[in-house]
Every structure is written in C-alpha cells, then in structure tokens.
Symmetry: C2
Subunit: 342 residues, 2 copies
C-alpha cells in the first residue's frame, strides 16, 4: 500500500450477520449478547460460537440509541489541563473512580476543560453521551451544571455551591474540622503568630478550610489577619507566601490549604532563608504524594482522596440503578499526619 491510499476499512459484523450465521433471529442473538436467561443452552452455544467466529462486537451507538443508555459516565473537571495534571489530588480521585468503575460495565469519559466549559461540556453532557456525571473541583460560578442536574444524575466531589439544591449528591470531608485540627496542632506545638495561605475563595473547600483556620484562632483569642489567598497551585502559593512575608516577617506557623501549595510556599521560605519547621512550622492539607516528596516532608491533614473517588463512583452507580435509598452526602474522615514540617 502506498502513502495516501485511502484504506478501505472492513465493516464490523452486525447482529444481523451473526443471526444469519447462527441460523437464529436477531432478537435471539441480542438476548445471548445481553446474557438473558431465557435462551436454551444449545442456542447459546451456537450463537456464542458464531460471535467468536465473526469476532462480533456490538455497536455502541445503535445499542445506546435503542436502549437509551450509554454505559458511560463522565468526570467533569472545570480546570485547565495543567492544573489537572499538576495536582496529585486529581490523580488520587481518578484512581479511586476507576477502581470502582472497573468492577462495573461503565466506562469513564474525562472532561477536563476550564475554557468555555459551559459550551462544549454542556453539549457533551446533554447529547446523551453519558448516563451520569461526577464533578470535582467545582467553583461557585460554575453554574452551567445546574441544567444538567435535571437531565442526568450528578455526584459532586466536595460540597457543591448553593446554585444546587439540598438534594444534590456529594462526597466530601469536613474541611472546617480538618483545618481546625491542623491549626490547633500549630498552637499545640507552641506557635502563636500564625498565617494562612488559603485555597480559592470561590470554592467551598477553599472557604471551609479558611473558616476552620479563623475559627481556631478566634477561640484561642489570636488574630487571624495574616492571610493570603491562592488558587491551589504551587505558583500562586509562592506568590502568596511572598506577600505574607512582606506583611509579617515574624510568623512562626503557617496553615496552607493544600500540599501542592505548601511546596510552593516552602520554595519561597527556603529562598528567603527561613528554616522549616524551626522558624516557621507548616501544616498542609491533602496528604498527597506531594506531602512526602516535599523538601521538608509535610505535616498535613489527610483526606482519603482515592476513597472519595471510589465513593463518588459508587454513589453514581447506585443512582443509575435507580436505587431509592442513596444517601445524599457521604462525609469522610480526615486526620492529622505528623511529619517534619510541624
């Protein structure tokens, strides 16, 4: 074959063909393919043989058109690719999701898009491509999903914004409580001049962890004004760290809303000659691989990211079976993991 010869691609065998080869009707083949019990063993054998021989695989478009099901679910991530790949948190979530999905017939379609998500993603979800969707890293202004909610089941990773009603399904941790434990740990080891680098204030996880920090300091009668906001990236956290040090060079403790951000903060601290934890102790959040791999292994609030992904997928799958007793929320535990940074 020479370059550019447009290849004639052999058509895949159809149900029709298998039926003919096996000497039965299309309906019977369909029953065999779908594992119906109401087919005699002999016929099953004949049909199965024909399927093998012809190397038959059902056409998904036809199948989903007829059955009104796709056997696929989407994972919607309203972030750009760089953030998606850059934060180990997502890796853990996806891992958990696929672990659950692998035991099912469902396949996963990844929709990672911050740019124009309202359009392409919406279209995708509304075109009947998937039976349901998982949503992580949800921002409060991402209200384009509210319409989708009435079309297909949605499960959120992290409490969704208030655009969504109280009947929304989600898996989360108690971010406020987690942040309180983390901040308290800094107090417990004797730190009193605490600062925080927060997540984005347009995300519940960002807000809640900040709230936990504030609340703990209030209760201790300390000021909580050494705060800078960032967006869960290392770069933004580094910038926040610089701003923080400019305002308050006397900090002795820092609560950072994610491990990845803590690595960014660490870089700046090292660069400016601060020792961690001696000068400044750090407690982070996530307990992702980034925590262990950090220049100073991070004391951090562990959340079971992979298990959360698993639970999300499980919740969605139950929803898809029409299970009437799926609880709307699943709040999973956090715990303090002590390492070198605090």
């Amino acid at each position: 074959m020479t370059t550019g010869t447009r290849q004639t691609r052999p058509a895949q065998p159809t149900l029709e063909l298998v039926a003919e080869a096996a000497g039965v009707s299309r309906a019977t083949v369909s029953r065999v393919v779908n594992g119906s019990t109401k087919v005699s063993p002999e016929i099953v054998a004949v049909v199965t043989a024909a399927i093998e021989r012809l190397n038959y695989v059902p056409n998904r478009a036809a199948r989903s058109l007829a059955s009104r099901q796709t056997q696929a679910v989407a994972l919607v991530v309203p972030e750009d690719i760089t953030r998606f790949f850059g934060d180990p948190y997502f890796a853990a979530i996806v891992q958990g999701i696929t672990r659950r999905l692998d035991e099912s017939q469902y396949i996963l379609n990844l929709l990672v898009a911050s740019s124009d998500p309202s359009h392409k993603t919406m279209r995708y979800l509304r075109s009947g491509n998937v039976d349901g969707a998982l949503v992580v890293s949800h921002h409060t202004h991402d209200d384009f999903l509210t319409d989708i909610e009435s079309l297909i089941p949605l499960v959120f990773g992290g409490r969704p914004s208030d655009h969504f009603g109280p009947n929304t399904y989600y898996v989360d941790v108690d971010n406020v409580a987690g942040a309180q434990v983390g901040t308290q740990h800094l107090l417990d080891i004797g730190r009193r001049r605490l600062g925080s680098i927060t997540g984005p204030i347009d995300m519940p996880a960002g807000i809640d962890r900040f709230t936990g920090f504030q609340r703990t300091l209030e209760q201790a009668g300390l000021s909580a004004d050494a705060v800078e906001h960032a967006d869960f990236t290392a770069v933004s956290a580094a910038a926040a760290m610089r701003r923080l040090l400019e305002r308050r060079s006397d900090l002795d403790g820092l609560f950072v809303a994610s491990d990845l951000m803590a690595t960014g903060a660490l870089d700046v601290l090292r660069e400016q000659g601060y020792a961690v934890p001696d000068d400044i102790a750090i407690v982070a959040f996530d307990d992702s691989p980034a925590a262990i791999g950090a220049a100073v292994p991070l004391t951090t609030i562990s959340q079971p990211s992979a298990e959360m992904g698993f639970a999300m997928a499980d919740m969605l799958l139950r929803l898809l079976t029409g299970d009437p007793d799926v609880p709307h929320r699943n709040i999973m535990p956090t715990r303090l993991i002590q390492r070198a940074s605090a």
Copy 2:
C-alpha cells in the same frame, strides 16, 4: 422531593420536535443543524429560533449511527493510572493533543489502562466509539492494537513496534541521536566513567536511547557496561541507581533516559553522599517540568512533547478527512538543555 424519589428526567427535544415547532421537515432541520448551505435564509432563521427556544441538542448516538461517524478520537495509554499521572511527559502530550482538538469538532476519550487492555480497550475501540485513536507509551508486547489498525486510523506517539507494518503513522524524535548528544556532553565535560539508567527495553524509546548511549561510548573507545534497566518511573530508577552504585562506585557521569527517572536517581545519590554534578554529572531526557523542579536542575535532552501531541492529533485529523498526502512519520528535533546537573 424526598431522598430516593426516583426523579423523572425530562426527555431531550428531538429533531422531530424542532421540525414541528418550526413548521418544516426533519430533513430541513438536520440541514440547518449541520450548516448546509442549501437552505433559504428565512428558513434558517425560523429553525434556528426553534432550536434556541427548545434548547435542542442533537443526540450523538443517533447521529453517529446514521452518519457512521463519532466525531471522537481516543488516546490509548497502556499504563496504569499512577504512571500516567506521575510522569509530566503525559501531561505535555495530552496538552498538545487537546490544543489541536479544541480547534476541531472532535472530542477526546482517554483510555488509560494497563490491566487487561486487550479486552476492555479493544472492545471500546471496536464498538465504534471513536473514529480514530492516538497511542502513546506503546510497549512491544502490546500487539492487541494490530487488529484495530485495520478498523480505524491509528497514530502513534513514538515509533511503534514491528508488529505494525511500515505504513504505520507516528510522531517521534530521533531518540538515538538525542541520547548520543546527551552522552557526548558528558564526555565533553571530561567524564569518562559513564553509566546509564535506561527505559524499559520493551519500548522503542527505551531501546533507542540506550543505543545512543552505547554507540557514543563505543566511538569513544569506552566501555558501556555500567547499565541498569528501569521502567520510566522514579522508584524503578532509584532501585537501578542503587544497583549501579553497588557495581560501580566510581562513576563520574550518568545518562538517564527520562527526567522523572533522574529525580529518582538524584534521591539515591544524595542519600549516599554523592554530589551532583561534582562527583557524578547527570544528563537526562524529556525536559519536562520535573527537570527544572529537580533537587539539582537537570541538564537534559529536550523533546517537544506538547508539540508532538499536537502533531499526532493533527496527523490523525488529516487522516480522518481522507487526506491522501499524510506523511507516515514526523520526526521532531531534540536539543541539549544545559542546567546544573552536567
């Protein structure tokens, strides 16, 4: 609505409905939706209005059943999720691919699976889910794709194994030449006792980079037996580094087949008290973010990973249009990037 009330989900409007609302035939609506020029402006206006009003979105299953096209392509990655997320190389590739695909109508379906790939992945590809596929991180034993090749266009990232004919499409760099440049650099800065940590020997990229290393040493009349194989992960590279040091504690230069692996090697070297580059100089491969972020910024062979992803997608898209002049290979340039490690 109470917990568990099975929600009645509104059906999406169909072509039929739009046609009725606009007072035209289904065929005409279809023409408008697909941007046919042969529709009078007035009718276009009427139909468009009806589409807007009803919030119509075409059903993809029906469309692809009728048109025998899916407007989707797959990215097949025969690795497990952990490796996929762990190596910045994949992030760059995916970024390049989506950059190209975003300018098109096509959507991307990610198939990341090392376990039982022959089954689930095959089935997916053969079920008519996608019009074509991109394959990266291809192992020589991954011969399950050979059947697929006759069904849909395939474009490989990296030269595929010999299971595939000479008419296979792929985007690659000259790994042998790149490795030669890297190894030569170590010689140029006066190192003479060189070792290498290679990629997996079941991957062309692994083999070729090793070949480049060997060839350079041969030409210099030096021995190339201080070699350990790893699998492109940091962990495997760390183990390889330990084995290497056990055999040869007098190395003064090291060529490592990827940045990620170099970070694993660096950890071991630091742990065992070797200074980089003073005791041992290192040249790596990829020029991914891992190279800059490494404990010692890495001198490395840069390959244009994102551009390669872009080129792969572009090649596939051209193939899908039936373009008769798509070249079978696109070999992109590498170059040496000097940083601190050598």
